[in-house]
Symmetry: C2
Subunit: 259 residues, 2 copies
């Protein structure tokens, strides 16, 4: 696809190679206040990760051939402003490091005039498809050559605690939630969470920081429950199974409304 540019940027005096992708913002990507939807932004960030990994030779298709698969564990996003409908945004990405169980991939989002407008930081595990257990990334030394050590300007995504309170909504996992690999699309949990939250509280504030923890996967046909709990300047969300197991947790740190 005609999406990629190889790019170089200077980090602390060192020239580093990045991968850069263009995403147009279409009307369906913005909400009723004409602000980019978190789901649309997450979708572009995850597509960036997928395209970049594939070009480096360790995309999902390559890894499945090796019997392993990338699993998104945590994600944090902070935006200072949002790209507007009918403009292009650009996302640059690089791999920061490989730990034993998690690798860190960072992102910077640029608007159509190439101004940096936000950042994201993601943590990924590599899962053995047979045992369903995480793989020690140190046993894949070929991955290391893509790690450039450059940290994200934003804090890494943190562990989110359990959410208290009664479920606010339910959803049955359906055809449109299921991915090419038969799994529930990561973005869909976010869609269910935000749809369960009062729309006027989404419209009257902006999301200053968004954090996600992915824990278990909801399956097709499963009835999931969505919980949320407001606290001072924050809201915590969980998507749960009928017996209270968390599939996904999220935390929003709220800011004032977009100007």
């Amino acid at each position: 696809m005609e999406t990629n540019l190889i790019f170089h940027r200077n980090f602390a005096g060192m020239e580093k190679q990045l991968q850069r992708y263009r995403f147009p913002v279409f009307p369906q990507d913005v909400d009723g206040k004409q602000h980019l939807r978190m789901v649309a932004l997450e979708s572009c960030i995850l597509n960036t990760a997928g395209l970049a990994a594939a070009e480096n030779g360790f995309g999902s298709v390559d890894m499945i051939n090796e019997g392993v698969t990338w699993v998104l564990s945590r994600l944090a996003i902070e935006m200072r402003s949002l790209p507007e409908q009918y403009t292009d945004m650009y996302i640059e990405t690089w791999v920061e490091d490989y730990g034993r169980l998690l690798t860190t991939r960072n992102f910077t989002v640029y608007d159509h005039e190439d101004r940096p407008i936000g950042h994201a930081c993601s943590l990924w595990a590599l899962m053995d498809m047979k045992t369903r257990r995480p793989v020690n990334l140190q046993t894949h030394p070929d991955l290391q050559r893509f790690a450039n050590g450059v940290p994200s300007p934003i804090a890494k995504p943190d562990k989110i605690g359990a959410v208290q309170g009664e479920p606010k909504a339910e959803h049955r996992v359906s055809y449109s939630d299921i991915d090419f690999n038969g799994h529930t699309n990561s973005m869909k949990y976010v869609e269910w969470m935000l749809d369960a939250y009062p729309i006027e509280r989404l419209y009257e504030r902006r999301i200053r920081r968004f954090e996600l923890n992915y824990q278990h996967e909801a399956l097709h046909g499963e009835q999931v429950r969505i919980c949320w709990e407001d606290s001072e300047g924050q809201t915590a969300f969980a998507v749960q199974s009928a017996d209270g197991k968390d599939f996904c947790r999220a935390r929003i740190v709220w800011g004032n409304a977009w100007e």
Copy 2:
């Protein structure tokens, strides 16, 4: 945005100007069988219409300034094959004609090797935003210069009859369903319909022809019901209000599974 190409094609010996747009197919655009989702395809078709109209000076923003708005009335789509994940598709569009109440906009879909793989035909009305009544398009002679008279190779979308039978599912219109203009996104009705239909019947056949009639708009917070009814080689769908008014009807003509 960097999406547009002006293109010329020969129709029956006449050189006609078309507008052409590129759309990458990302993982979230395909279903569990790796086939392009009808919702993703409709989204690209409607974005093509929106971009082309805007470049011609009668996009939704221009029209709202004149106190009128384009309303999609009917849509028909027929695909011979589908573009694959991580490839680009191209959609070309032109305005065929302007009647008194409806204008016809046609589309041809090309795969990444520029092979024509499908067609779409859409009918649009122009609605007065104050009276909520359709406008006589003959009172907008400025529109006429974009009509080139070239028909679509597929039949125009037909009127779809009422659907019999009990509702199969319900949905509450939520944050993620609402467009930049506060209206329910046209694609969402299709998502609700297909999500209410048995997934295995979607997976075991292909959609040979897809027809949509948009009748009324569902509002935020509204609880809608989804009905469908199978008949010989076809399925009819309706999204209805609690008191049985149809918001949207659709008909699928089924073909054998994709190879």
